[in-house]
């Protein structure tokens, strides 16, 4: 029998959500407290003045022709790094995706997926500083670093695509006597190719941003120019390099968008 004369009791409080919120708040407070942050330094008049001076030094950006030519070459070098790195990653990613999608058994699947996780956990910059030991200074190490990290990302995405592909066409070809490789090439790969290309183009957009800054550890391109000029406090040149970076990123974004549109017609 419903008791309609009294208000229903409110439901019990969910303590777990409150506990989680408090934990997060504690994390934030602890972070600020434990970091040696130089707020006072940053907000003194002196600091603000020198910061303003520094920022003012950016304008106007350096536009002397020899410097622009140098920047243009560095831009092309950065673009090549990102494109080649992505291409290498596609090949490696596809090769790793085959075991990682379970086609060679469960044990290889687990092992290769663990490898892919390690590859993609390590950021491109860290890869670059490691690979430069073997490849020397210059963009080659940067290309390899991008390839290593992106192979981890694409390998995982490709493996998931392959696992989710409808198995019917490939099973039928195998039933009718085709070899495993041929059935894969004729049935499963055509189905997953558009999505794989889409992932690849998204990663290229990511890689151009990464390639632009890899030079900071010595991998050439615009990043190396930026570090060099900033360390000499040559702000105008640095400004030009930053603008070149922004233009390059916008260009690659546009190309990637156009290609993705064209491929899914």
């Amino acid at each position: 029998m419903h008791d309609t004369r009294h208000m229903p009791k409110p439901p019990a409080r969910d303590w777990t959500i409150i506990a989680v919120m408090l934990l997060l708040a504690a994390l934030v407070v602890a972070s600020f407290a434990s970091l040696p942050l130089k707020w006072r330094d940053f907000f003194t008049l002196d600091a603000i003045n020198s910061a303003a001076e520094l920022l003012a030094g950016f304008a106007p950006p350096e536009t002397a022709t020899p410097f622009l030519v140098k920047t243009a070459w560095a831009t092309l070098e950065t673009m090549s790094m990102s494109a080649l790195g992505t291409l290498l990653a596609v090949v490696a990613g596809l090769a790793l995706a085959l075991p990682a999608s379970g086609r060679l058994g469960q044990a290889p699947r687990a092992a290769v997926r663990a490898l892919l996780n390690v590859l993609r956990s390590i950021p491109e910059l860290v890869w670059a500083s490691i690979l430069l030991i073997a490849a020397g200074l210059g963009p080659f190490g940067g290309t390899l670093a991008l390839a290593a990290h992106t192979a981890g990302v694409l390998g995982r995405l490709f493996a998931d695509s392959l696992e989710n592909a409808p198995p019917g066409p490939e099973a039928t070809l195998r039933t009718n006597g085709a070899s495993a490789a041929a059935a894969f090439l004729y049935a499963t790969l055509p189905q997953t190719l558009p999505q794989m290309l889409s992932y690849t183009l998204y990663r290229w957009e990511n890689n151009i941003r990464a390639a632009a800054i890899l030079g900071v550890v010595g991998a050439g391109g615009l990043g190396q120019m930026l570090k060099y000029h900033l360390s000499l406090f040559q702000m105008q040149q640095a400004a030009t390099v930053i603008i070149a970076m922004l233009v390059l990123v916008a260009l690659v974004d546009a190309i990637s968008y156009a290609l993705r549109r064209a491929l899914t017609r």
Binding site: L157, A171, T172, N176, A181, A183, L185, A187
Partner: protein, 281 residues
């Protein structure tokens, strides 16, 4: 030499384990002999086991009990490689056309040659189709010649079904196993399809086993009718001996004999990529 000899064959549903205490198996105590060059129609209500029987004849599913010989060999006693070579002599055309949506018809049809091609030839044909003429002739026999370079997902359901059968015409198999080839076709196309299949089988002296829901067409085209019900053979007779009463008893309890249409193509939406996936920059 008989192409197939089945003796007291029991086949479980795919995925049923031996310990799971499953209900009735898909095929029970089935005995059947098919000579080379015979053409027979497989009829029966939905769920009778027609697809399972065809899969067993195609060497795609291992029987649980009983004897199965093909071309005088027991395929499941052979090694894996020998059994796979045996599969090249059989062709199974499933009910849902096994065609990748974005592939072109020419490549899909030429995939019939894959058991015979080396991997390099297969790769080369992906780039430049090795025998467009052969593919076109096969398609033309089903009135699909002009679709040679179209994409599979731009075809209608009936066209896709006939495209899957065109692949059969190009394969050199000696046993043709066809599962419900007419579910998306109108009466005129159904006649054309059955006639083409039978002429092809007769020309190569290949065995043809075709499962059909359209009993009148089965009686009209096939000299031998095998009827399945609940996993057993209800009757196995020349068509002259099949009476309307036997047909009625066979389909008793099935409210509509309407054939299920082939499943719609899965949407291959390549733009369904979450940009956040893995992109931290």
């Amino acid at each position: 030499m008989p192409t197939y000899h089945l003796h007291h064959l029991t086949v479980r549903h795919r995925g049923a384990s031996s310990r799971s205490g499953t209900p009735l198996p898909a095929l029970r105590e089935l005995s059947l002999t098919i000579e080379q060059g015979e053409q027979l129609a497989l009829i029966g209500p939905s769920g009778a086991g027609k697809t399972t029987l065809l899969a067993t004849l195609a060497c795609a599913q291992q029987p649980f009990e009983g004897n199965l010989t093909m071309f005088d060999q027991d395929p499941w006693a052979l090694g894996d490689a020998a059994r796979h070579r045996l599969r090249a002599r059989l062709f199974l055309a499933p009910q849902t056309p096994p065609l990748p949506p974005r592939q072109r018809v020419v490549t899909a049809v030429l995939a019939a040659h894959l058991p015979q091609w080396s991997i390099w030839r297969a790769l080369a044909s992906l780039f430049k189709p090795a025998d467009p003429q052969g593919a076109w002739q096969a398609l033309a026999r089903f009135n699909l010649g002009d679709k040679l370079y179209s994409r599979v997902d731009r075809l209608s359901g009936g066209e896709r079904q006939r495209c899957g059968l065109a692949r059969l015409l190009l394969s050199p198999a000696e046993a043709l196993l066809v599962d419900e080839p007419l579910s998306a076709l109108d009466p005129v196309l159904s006649e054309l399809t059955l006639t083409t299949l039978r002429e092809e089988a007769a020309a190569r002296n290949a065995t043809l086993v075709c499962s059909l829901h359209q009993v009148e067409l089965a009686l009209a085209h096939f000299p031998r009718i095998v009827a399945l019900r609940a996993g057993r053979i209800a009757f196995d007779l020349p068509r002259a001996q099949v009476t309307p009463q036997m047909i009625a008893e066979l389909y008793q309890g099935e409210h509509s004999a309407a054939a299920p249409a082939p499943a719609a193509l899965p949407e291959a939406d390549a733009m369904l990529v979450k940009p956040g996936a893995g992109a931290c920059l």
